[in-house]
C-alpha cells in the first residue's frame, strides 16, 4: 500500500495536476479570505471555510479524475491486479495520496490563520475544529471521486461526473427539504454531507459527525473495491 501511495503522490507532482489543484484552491480561498475576513473585518474562520466549501466541486475532480480511470486506459491495472497486492491496499493507497495533497494544501492556508491572529484574537482550538471538518468533508468528496473514477476509462467523463455528484451533495439539503416522501428523505439526508460540515464550522467537535464522515468515506471506498471486483467478474 505504501508503494501505491508513494507512486500516486509522486505522480501528482510530476504532472501539472497537483499544482493545478493547489493553485486553484489557494487562489479561490485567498479571495474568500481577503473579502470575507480582511475586508469585512471578521475573524470567523469557520464562516470563511464554509463559504469556500463550494470549491470542492471544482477542485476535487482534478484530484480524483485519473486515479482509477487512467490505470484502466493505460492497462497498468494489469500490473497492479496481477501483483501480490490486495485491491483494498490499491484503493486505500490512492485515496490517502489524494487526501495528502489536499492536506498539504490546507496546511499552506495556515498562512491565513497567522495573518488573522496578528490582527485579532482567535481561538486556535476552534480553528482546528474548522479545519478538521473541512478536511474530512474534502476526504469524503475524494472518496466519491475515486469511486466515480473506477466507472470509466476517460478522465474527462470522470471529472464531469464527479462535479455533478458533488453538486448534488452540495444541494442535498435543499433537495431533502422539498421531498416529502419519508423514506427517500431519510436516505438523502444521510447523503447530506454539508449539513454535518456546518457543525464543524461552528467550532463544535461533534463526535457523531466525525464518525459519520469516516463512515461516509469508508462506504465509498468499499463501493470502489466492489465495483472493480465486479468488473473483473463480468466484462474484464
Amino acid at each position: 500500500m505504501l508503494a501505491i501511495y508513494r507512486r500516486e503522490l509522486q505522480s501528482y507532482f510530476f504532472s501539472p495536476l497537483g499544482y493545478v489543484f493547489m493553485g486553484s484552491f489557494l487562489f479561490v480561498s485567498g479571495i474568500f479570505f481577503a473579502f470575507g475576513n480582511i475586508m469585512s473585518v471578521s475573524s470567523s474562520f469557520g464562516t470563511m471555510l464554509s463559504n469556500v466549501s463550494f470549491i470542492f466541486m471544482l477542485v476535487v475532480p482534478i484530484l480524483t479524475m485519473r486515479l482509477m480511470s487512467d490505470e484502466r486506459r493505460t492497462k497498468t491495472d494489469q500490473l497492479l491486479l496481477t501483483s501480490p497486492v490486495s485491491l483494498w491496499s490499491i484503493v486505500v493507497g490512492k485515496f490517502f495520496a489524494a487526501c495528502t495533497v489536499f492536506l498539504l494544501t490546507l496546511v499552506l492556508t495556515g498562512v491565513y490563520v497567522i495573518i488573522l491572529s496578528a490582527y485579532g484574537s482567535i481561538s486556535f482550538g476552534e480553528v482546528f475544529v474548522n479545519y478538521l471538518g473541512f478536511f474530512m468533508t474534502g476526504c469524503c468528496m475524494i472518496a466519491v471521486g475515486l469511486f466515480i473514477s473506477t466507472q470509466t476509462e476517460s478522465q474527462v467523463t470522470a471529472a464531469i461526473a464527479t462535479f455533478g455528484a458533488i453538486l448534488l451533495i452540495y444541494l442535498m439539503d435543499s433537495i431533502v427539504s422539498v421531498i416529502s416522501i419519508n423514506f427517500i428523505g431519510v436516505v438523502l439526508e444521510w447523503l447530506s454531507l454539508f449539513s454535518r460540515f456546518s457543525d464543524f464550522t461552528n467550532g463544535i467537535l461533534n463526535i457523531s459527525s466525525t464518525i459519520y464522515m469516516i463512515t461516509f468515506s469508508a462506504v465509498f471506498l468499499f463501493l470502489t473495491v466492489a465495483s472493480v471486483e465486479k468488473r473483473r467478474w463480468s466484462e474484464g
Binding site: A3, R7, S11, F14, T74, T82, P84, G236
Partner: protein
C-alpha cells in the same frame, strides 16, 4: 506448475473461452497459438488473476488463484499484450515501484534490478522517462517488469507484436535465454514465432483448445515431405504429368515461372510418405534439371485446417 481446469469465460452471450483445460509443466517453454480473437489474452488474463473466469479453476502450484491470490501471484510474472507502463516515470523509478509491489526486499532491490538491466539490456535507458522510449525498449521494460521478483513462471501475451524484425530477433533470443531457468508461456498468432522457441504448443480456436502437443508431433502430419516446392527446367504440362505419376504424390500444381526457363510446382504427398527420392529420380531420368526443392512453410492455417477437418485427431 499451473493447472487450468475447465475454464470458461462468457462476455454477455459470447463465449470468449470455452471449457479450456491444459497444464503448464515446470520448466517448459509453452506456445499458446491462436488467431486474433481466439481467446488467448482472455485465457492469460484469467491465469494471471487479472480477471475471473465465469467457471472453472486455475491452480498455481496447487494454490487457487482466487482463493490464495497473494501466494499464487507471487509465482507469476506477466507481460500483457500492452506493457503496463507508467509513462510519467523513469525506467528506474518504475522498476523500483514494481519491486515494492512484488515484495522484493528493499536491500535486495538494487542488485536484483542490476541483474535484470543486464538480462534485458536496458541499463543505458534507466534514467529516461518511459514515454520517451522506442517501442522496442518499452517492450523490454515490460519484460523487465515481468521478471521482477524472480517468479517461476513468465507469461507473455504476443511479446513481439508491433516490433521490427531486429527487435523481434532480440526478444526471441531473450525468451530462449529465459527458458533455461524459468517456465515460460508465450502466445502468438504466428506459427514460426513459437516454432523455434517452444517445447510444446497449445492451440486455441474460437475459445476451445483444438490441440496440445509437441511441435514435432503437430507438424508431422503436414510437415516436411508432405508439401514442397520444386523448380524444374522444362515445359509445364509434361513435367506436371511426370510428377503426378511418381508413386506417393497426391497433387502437383504449377505455381508459375519465378526464374527464366523454369517452372515451379507445389507437390503434395500423403503424410509419412517421403517422395523426394522417387521424385528426383523420375525428373532426372526424364531429362529435366531440378533447380530447387524445398519444403513449403507449414502455416498455422494448415494446422487449423488439419485439426478441424480431422476432428478425431483434435483435442488430443
Amino acid at each position: 506448475m499451473i493447472e487450468i481446469k475447465n475454464v470458461t469465460k462468457r462476455y454477455g452471450t459470447k463465449l470468449a473461452v470455452d471449457d479450456v483445460t491444459f497444464t503448464i509443466n515446470k520448466g517448459e517453454v509453452l506456445g499458446f497459438l491462436g488467431r486474433n480473437g481466439a481467446g488467448k489474452s482472455t485465457t492469460m488474463n484469467i491465469v494471471t488473476g487479472y480477471i475471473s473466469a465465469t467457471s472453472g479453476q486455475v491452480l498455481v502450484d496447487g494454490m487457487d488463484i482466487l482463493e490464495e491470490p497473494r501466494q499464487a501471484k507471487r509465482c507469476i510474472g506477466y507481460l500483457p499484450e500492452q506493457p503496463p507502463l507508467y509513462m510519467d516515470m523513469t525506467v528506474e523509478e518504475y522498476l523500483y515501484f514494481v519491486c515494492d509491489i512484488k515484495e522484493v526486499r528493499k536491500r535486495n532491490q538494487k542488485a536484483h534490478l542490476e541483474d535484470i538491466y543486464e538480462l534485458v539490456k536496458i541499463a543505458d535507458v534507466r534514467k529516461r522517462l518511459i514515454k520517451n522510449l522506442s517501442k522496442g525498449y518499452k517492450q523490454r521494460v515490460g519484460l523487465a517488469q515481468a521478471l521482477v521478483g524472480n517468479p517461476d513462471v513468465i507469461i507473455m501475451d504476443e511479446p513481439t507484436v508491433g516490433l521490427d524484425p531486429r527487435q523481434i530477433i532480440e526478444i526471441r533470443r531473450l525468451i530462449r535465454d529465459l527458458g533455461h531457468n524459468h517456465t515460460v508461456v508465450l502466445s502468438s498468432h504466428i506459427l514460426h514465432e513459437v516454432s523455434d522457441v517452444c517445447d510444446r504448443v497449445v492451440i486455441i480456436n474460437n475459445g476451445k483448445i483444438v490441440a496440445q502437443d509437441s511441435l514435432e508431433h503437430l507438424t508431422q502430419g503436414i510437415g516436411e515431405g508432405v508439401r514442397m516446392m520444386v523448380r524444374v527446367v522444362g515445359p509445364e504440362k509434361p513435367v506436371q504429368r511426370l510428377i503426378r505419376n511418381v508413386p506417393g504424390v497426391s497433387l502437383a500444381e504449377p505455381m508459375g515461372m519465378k526464374e527464366p526457363d523454369s517452372m515451379d510446382f507445389m507437390v503434395e504427398s500423403a503424410p509419412g510418405n517421403d517422395v523426394r527420392r522417387p521424385l528426383v529420380n523420375a525428373l532426372v531420368s526424364g531429362g529435366y534439371s531440378l533447380l530447387m526443392l524445398r519444403p513449403m512453410d507449414v502455416t498455422l492455417e494448415d494446422i487449423f485446417l488439419q485439426l478441424t477437418s480431422e476432428s478425431s485427431e483434435g483435442g488430443n
